[in-house]
Amino acid sequence: MRLSRALALTTLTILAAACEKRTSVAETILIGHVGSLTGSEASFGTSTENGIRLAIEDINAKGGIKGKRVAAKTYDDQGKPEEAAVAATRLITQDKVTVLLGEVASSRSLAMAPIADANQVPQISPTSTNPRVTKDGDKTRPYVFRVCFIDAFQATVMAKFARESLKLERVAILRDVGSDYSVGLADFFSKKFEELGGTIVSDQSFKSGDQDFKAQLTTIKGKSPEMIYTTGYYTDVALLARQARELGIKVPLGGGDGWDSAKLFEIAQGALDGSYFSNHYSDENPDPRIQSFVKRYREKFGGTPDSMAALGYDAAHVAFDAMARAPDLSGPAIAAALAATKDFPGVAGVITIDADHNAVKSAVVLKIEKNKARYVTTINP
């Protein structure tokens, strides 16, 4: 009995080894994706995943890269940094992916970055805007890239917009203390807004997943700001917007790209009308490249692509472009090609990777009207 079980196990192991050998020589390039397919920021992961799938369809229709087909392997991190680290390790060591895509949230990208660096597998984050994602102390991480702008720029855009276009003097800040993205963006905003002559009247915090924000909002109301700049992710923002309206706070809210999700409007039910947020792209932009992407996305997945979908698509295409230019498909060769990316035409803007591995590109400001995001203006760096 025991012998036969051992025998079966050995056979299985040999079979598995044989299978593994076959896939490794097969003519496919495997890319890995780590995303929050479930959890509080579930729409981030699913949108990015859709964008990546669309990009893979494109490249395979054109005959793949270096004559090889491209396939993707995706793991869900449930919106938890520790799970993102586990998923990244698994993709690199077990699935042996060529390139790692993800994550949307900065806290999770930060958890993955050291793993990508240590294993010399290039990681491209579609939308993590915290500056520290591509930095290890003062030096740039050699294998970590992003195809979006960073928070210093995003905060400047909103600070300038609030100060110069909306002519606001007094702004209150409400930040999520548990998120690297939220804290960083709030810090950059308050610095820039005060530089421009405005006043931060109150700086309050919450923790992602909190049910009740009324204590902070009541205090903010007492300081009578003209805008509340809140840098959380969409589920928290929607809930706190409702509670702000329930407390009779009528001023607009402001925020960053973490707001971008259809769920924001589903939970807010109009509470965010009149508010502004900065984003990577607008699906209302008449540019034919954007419109053809929007149309194809709608046909394939239904619904309008948000910026996570657009940047997931761009991140995958930037990776394919670098792989095509690289002399071989080793990590260092692809990383060198990625660092040399110049004027790549993405749907969410033209991408040039700078010395810090960030993309230098414009941001848009959107206004929420009748529970829908409307394009207001584009601001260039």
Binding site: T38, G39, Q204, K221
Partner: protein, 318 residues
């Protein structure tokens, strides 16, 4: 002053939820000397049961076309709340019957660890991706869901303070349930039996009290209260997910200890005090220290009154 009063309203609204959940902790502790860590998750299940029931009875939001009449709203809200209380009552019964009863005569630590196990089972079980798709998607998975609007929200402004029918109904329902519970515990045969079991379950059994049945009913009552809390909370803060019972459960447990665990009015007062403490701390000091400072206040209270506000220290006779 307006701000102070607004904080008062907000704090009471949050405290109500803690109080209702704390009642369940207190009852179970009173009877079994067991801290039922799964109770916070029963509260979560209550909200999800309400979510599914609203789907099944077809609750229409106030902005639907045509909007539901007052009668329809009331009937459906009642069905959803009562239904959810019954489902959670049943869940409480099952937890007691299959997780705790087989361990009743083991060391108390065994039951405590089992309680933590049941808590994890509910939290992570509910995070699995749906196995059943129709008529409901169950388990719900980890993504947050939007709780339907059971009744229209009416906001009022009194002296510059904003409050709503949600806050008022929540507080009234909580007070009503607490008074009902107090009546059951002190004025009915069941309550007398419960207190007897709490005092000494072995002797109570010898006197002909059906100890098992009394304990089962205690769990049913406590769990039904948690379900009511889950619904009241979800109506005014309509984002529900499988992990949201964790923190609420912990805080309710602290509220029960603060009020004096084992005491029904103590749980109620403890919950309200904790809600207010958190609110004023977040409102008047640094909001990032909300929980830290609120819990420090509690430690100080317990240093002065180790048995809690309403608790009585019992001396163990040797």
């Amino acid at each position: 002053m307006t701000e102070f009063l607004q904080h008062l309203v907000n704090g009471l609204s949050v405290g109500t939820i803690y109080a209702l959940v704390a009642l369940g902790y207190t009852m179970v502790y009173g009877v079994l000397k067991l801290i039922n860590f799964a109770h916070g998750d029963v509260y979560m299940v209550g909200a999800f049961a309400g979510y599914y029931l609203s789907d099944l009875v077809g609750v229409r939001p106030p902005w639907a076309d045509p909007p539901p009449g007052a009668g329809e709203t009331f009937v459906k809200a009642t069905i959803v709340t009562m239904g959810s209380m019954i489902i959670c009552g049943l869940l409480g019964y099952l937890i007691e019957r299959f997780a705790y009863r087989p361990l009743r005569h083991q060391a108390r630590l065994t039951a405590l660890i089992t309680a933590i196990g049941v808590s994890f089972l509910l939290e992570f079980g509910f995070q699995l991706s749906p196995l059943v798709r129709s008529p409901i998607e169950f388990p719900p998975g980890p993504s947050p869901r939007v709780f339907p609007a059971l009744l229209a929200r009416d906001g009022y402004e009194v002296l510059g303070v904003n409050l709503s029918n949600y806050d008022i109904i929540g507080l009234l329902v909580a007070l009503g349930l607490m008074l009902g519970l107090q009546w059951i515990v002190y004025r009915t045969r069941f309550g007398t039996a419960m207190r007897a079991v709490s005092f000494d379950s072995q002797v109570a059994g010898l006197m002909g009290i059906p100890v098992n049945r009394i304990i089962s009913w205690t769990f049913v009552l406590g769990s039904a209260l948690a379900a009511a809390a889950g619904i009241i909370n979800a109506v005014s803060r309509p984002r529900i997910e499988p992990l949201f019972g964790l923190m609420a459960g912990l805080k309710a447990f602290v509220a029960a200890v603060l009020g004096g665990i084992g005491s029904v009015p103590g749980a109620m007062v403890g919950g309200l005090v904790l809600g207010l403490a958190e609110e004023y701390v977040a409102g008047y000091t640094d909001s990032s220290y909300r929980d830290a400072i609120a819990f420090t206040v509690l430690i100080l209270v317990l240093l002065v009154r180790p048995a809690g506000l309403f608790g009585r220290l019992t001396v163990e006779k040797v």
